[in-house]
Amino acid sequence: MYEFNFAPVIAGLDQLLIGAWLTIQLSCAAMLLGLIVSVFCAWGKTSGITPLRWVIDAYIEIIRNTPFLVQIFFIFFGLPSLGLRLTPNSAALLALVVNFGAYGTEIIRAGIESIHKGQVEAGTALGLSRLQIFRYIIMKPALRTVYPALTSQFIYLMLTSSVVSAISADDLAAAGNNLQSATFASFEVYIVVTLIYLVMSVGFSTIFAMIEKAAFKYPLSR
């Protein structure tokens, strides 16, 4: 009968918590930079410049139809032969940004397309200023449209980011790997690491739901 040994995991808990903090930082940074990529690509897709649209479409299809692990291997091991040498941490961030950008583009585009020209015209007819139109007629409904998809994409990103441990970038999963190879209590280490991930994803989705309730309370017209 196997004897569970959680003592070394408890002793190394601070390492795991530091790892969890690194995962949160990495995910937030990737989300913010990824959003910039998404907004740019969404603009490019609606801009009507055909070659730009092709490039963006190709980018989205390639990223969405290949595994994240292969993307990160390509960036970390493949790019140095083109002269771009990255540390594990920056390769991890770059891979996450590139990956998020492809998924974010479709979300942002849906947000842009949810605003009809007639609504802006109605705002002008009501005598709203440009700033008011931007704030109440464009931003708030658009944000409400993208918010649920964007927040669940963030949680998905945070869970996916565990894969960066494969190139030994610093995050929670890597902290788990280090603790595992120091203590050999593999199952115990990974059960605790998994629980921390679970707490983080449940925590974030609770916070996101609270924000949604507070910020987008007004009723839908439909």
């Binding site: 196997y2 139809n65 692990l69 292969v70 390509f74 091991f77 949680i155 994803s201």
Partner: protein
Amino acid sequence: MPLIRPFGWDEFWIIVIAARWTIALSVIAFASGGIGGLFIALARVSDTKWPRLIATGFIRIFQGTPLLMQLFLVFFGLNILGFGINPWIAAALAFTLHASAFLGEIWRGCIEAVPSGQREAATALGLRYFNRMRYVILPQAAKIAVAPTVGFLVQLIKGTSLAAIIGFTELTRQGQIINNATFSPFLVFSTVAAVYFALCWPLSLLARRMELKFSRATTR
């Protein structure tokens, strides 16, 4: 034989052919995950509380934790249970559980998307839970489910790449092995990515087309 050999057609083919293990693992996970997913979905919409709670918990755990950790836990967990270190069994079991949870949640949505009048009519006709599901709800839900299920299959195929990390020699792991021998990471991982793309892209297009067709057929 030299220590580092060039990346030629032989190496290219070794990688392409390794896709069979990716396909095999995906098929196993999809087939057994489909059976598991059906049970999870049915439990999730059950009239009794306990199956519903257990299914919800199962789905939450698998959707709220990284696939990589699920894989590690099954891998090391099976060792604890005395099955030894076996990447094949670990990967098949982990991906089956993962697919069960995700397909269960997708199919629950499809079952609930069947208009409630259908369930009420079936109940009024005297059909109990089993026959109601078998003859009325599931056939209609299946039609809704096809597109998102194909979409999940793409996720699953991509997900099987993580099995490389526990030493299962599929497409990605084969790429790593060839890369260690040829040291041409750019070519190797481009090839690996291209093979995944060739597997996933047609499925993605199919899912999108079916979704479009379905939404056209159902919008009034």
